[in-house]
Subunit: 478 residues, 2 copies
């Protein structure tokens, strides 16, 4: 590092201390360490400082200082991202700007069904506040106890409620954003309809902090359903699951809030590593679907609807067996099976993960073709296929052959297997990152599969809004 | 006009004839006339030609010619817009590019619940195709027999299904767009989840053709409900209507697909000009709400749900009287009342229209305060207040005092009344154009109420994507 560069950094850090107070500018290695590694410990970065502003005005002041001193900023929420989007590079020239102290719920308007929260509010807290007001905030995902709403919006988080309620994008009505120039855009509108110009909101959502820093948001609330009931259905194939999905949507309409696919191998892994979780059918079946109904009337109504649906599906031969949860704890047990798949997989050893989406109608063909290509490339590779079938989103993961050396398997095959999977996704007009974003993990893959027109449009937007490239450089776009 | 300008235009027109064929380049005044005036006959433009390309490639070729010859293009769909967004300016230097010949349904995928349509497909045709496949395309508005899906997306159309299904934006999964440079961006993805970069789709939606030309789209379909049932409730005030809305959402959850407010004066106007439409209650009430349930089970189930809801509302004193439609024709009759309000208003004479939105919780206060301010400013002015209460969207229109000269009333008071209404909207953090867009009608108003940060961000995007300002200049932004 040149002396000039070092002088710049220390001038920047000193100015930040001035702006937000010593206590909120971390530079000691012990203090900064938790902010410099991603949750999966895949990336290790460095930073000239970790900045912890407490208000939107402080965020804006820091961004103006970053402009003055030409220091790049890496926004960070709960640091639970899966693509390294919140981890700085290794140079030590960047600063992390943590939004954790912007953690106020600014307003909750039950008649408007909205909650206005700052970026650093933890997702579970938003859910809790909604519940206290007899409302539902339906965004739900594994990291909800520590991820923040700002990060959810920056990555357009998905999770288990998308089928009915949409991604984070669909749950957001308005934003407050600090621009790369350090201005505050107040777009905190709580409106269902507003056609007065360009949709800035959706441009910032999913941009992973590369176009500005989200500091607050107006999120939609929904009525709290009277009951949620879960059921499991055993099927022969993903194709059958698709026909069953159409039947379930026809029968239950918008009451259908979950439709998750789990292959037999997923459940066998769960059984192996968590034997206390019982396999739910007497004999094994190739595929299991977990369904959830969120009913505004009653538990009884939901159960009756499920029973009619299952009867029709059994008659039509779509489903081979079915069980409707009889109470809350059984509903919980069914979800436990689903949620233990990633944990069981981790117990089984290192594996190659893919978070992909294809048109729902292509899921059967995608699995067949890609399974076959992988079996040919690496005989014995074990497919861990599960996910949000109702959204066309699969966690399509590859585990080393039984008894094989997982580490060697990854070293030898990961690049090739990624290529097989993503080429197949591309043939089916799918997405190589359905809900995790690009971060630094997938920028080259995204550039490979996107058209040159699309890459240029993205570059044009980045250059226009952030001409000095101070906002999370090296993420989303190279 | 200079000779050079004239030569440019005729060279451009000749090149267009070469590119898409003589028959599709209209220059004769008789042929071009229908394209040069907006539907409400508020704007009269001129054009060097009306271009009618038949394919996306032809659109791209015409845009490249516009670049070569520096001719601005005004995209046009069904020409049913309410803000002059599709009408060229009066110079005669611009060309209209009609998307009407891009009218193919490219695909319908029932398992994926998507339909892929070209920009020129008429909305009612999309609805029809969906119905034929036992699906619902829920976008619905008065002009659906002639407006096109491209125009619906360019203006982010709203309509009567927004409460449950969202605006045009929420119904769109992917777009094909010709950029201002004449490249084709193929973003025709039919995915529920795709987090691989900036949200170009939503940037084009609602941009009214100022950032590029939408040539095709993948739209979401929903399951066809088994039954739709309508009811009317009589209430004392908009405040009561808000409490009733909360009750209806709690009781019916996502089955509630319509919640329309109509003031007593609206229904009296309907009764005056369309006496065959019977007032639905024995005595008159200050406000009437029309509710619609879309039920995936049965008509009987919907009616039972309505009856329970109305009973509770009557018990709680939210509602003074209620009637549930007993059959389809009565449901239709209830909607007729609602749909005849704008027609009755037109019969009553010229009036001042406002298409505004405020947070739903502010509707009562907005109406009270603004009614009072208008009554003070123009004693006797008659308020025609109706609209999509469930979306916070009101058609808040002002009619001249009884027996007054409507034309003189408009000439004298329109500017002042707009200011009163929009200032009030602004105080309530609302929108001055909820579903009609800005076009050329409201650009100055929008610039007046938007923050300078927001205007600059919009200008930055426009300059970056369309540096020569060839895409519908003078719309959305000045």
């Amino acid at each position: 590092m040149t002396d000039a560069a070092l002088a710049t950094r220390s001038a920047f850090v000193a100015a930040c201390r001035e702006a937000i107070g010593d206590a909120h500018v971390l530079t000691d290695a012990h203090d900064t360490e938790p902010f410099l590694t991603d949750w999966r410990r895949r990336y290790q970065g460095a930073a000239c400082a970790v900045l912890r502003p407490g208000t939107t005005e402080e965020v804006a002041a820091l961004v103006r200082l970053a402009n003055t001193h030409r220091v790049a900023l890496v926004p960070q929420g709960g640091n639970t991202g899966l693509a390294g989007g919140a981890t700085p590079d290794a140079s030590g020239a960047q600063a992390v700007i943590s939004l954790a102290r912007l953690n106020r719920v600014r307003a909750l308007d039950p008649h408007n069904n909205t909650i206005t929260v700052e970026a650093g509010v933890v997702l579970a807290e938003v859910q809790r506040r909604a519940r206290d007001a007899e409302r539902l905030f339906p965004l739900s995902l594994a990291a909800e106890g520590s991820c923040t709403i700002g990060g959810n919006l920056a990555t357009n988080a998905g999770g288990t409620g998308v089928l009915r309620y949409g991604n984070a994008r669909e749950l957001c009505l308005g934003l407050e954003v600090v621009t790369p120039q350090g201005e505050i855009w107040d777009g905190l509108r709580g409106l269902r309809k507003d056609n007065t110009g360009y949709d800035l909101r959706d441009l910032y959502i999913g941009a992973e902090g590369t176009l500005g820093i989200i500091t607050a948001a107006v999120m939609k609330l929904h009525p709290q359903p009277a009951a949620r009931v879960t059921a499991l259905a055993a099927l022969a194939s993903p194709h059958a699951a698709l026909d069953f999905l159409a039947l379930a949507q026809r029968t239950a309409g918008p009451l259908l809030t979950g439709f998750e696919l789990m292959s037999d191998f997923c459940l066998r892994l769960v059984g192996k590593h968590f034997p206390q979780l019982r396999y739910p059918f007497e004999q094994s079946h190739p595929q299991i679907v977990l369904l959830e109904l969120s009913d505004s009337e009653s538990e009884e109504h939901a159960r009756t609807l499920f029973e009619q649906m299952m009867e029709t599906a059994l008659e039509q031969g779509l489903v081979d067996d079915a069980v409707v949860a009889e109470n809350l704890s059984q509903s919980r047990a069914f979800w436990d099976l689903r949620e233990h798949i990633p944990l069981a997989q981790a117990e089984e050893g290192l594996n190659i993960k893919h978070d992909i989406a294809v048109p729902i109608s292509s899921i059967g063909a995608f699995i067949e073709e890609t399974d076959a290509a992988i079996a040919q490339a690496v005989p014995g590779a074990r497919m861990v296929t599960f996910g949000h079938l109702g959204d066309g989103n699969l966690h399509y993961n590859v585990q080393a052959p039984e008894g094989g050396d997982a580490k060697a398997f990854l070293a030898q095959h990961q690049t090739m297997l990624n290529r097989i999977v993503y080429d197949s996704v591309d043939r089916h007009h799918g997405s190589i990152s359905a809900e995790h974003g690009l971060g630094q993990l997938k920028i080259d893959e995204a550039a490979h599969y996107k058209s040159s027109v699309e890459v240029r449009l993205m570059q044009t937007l980045k250059a226009a809004l952030d001409p000095l490239s101070l906002m999370n450089p090296g993420k989303v776009l190279r």
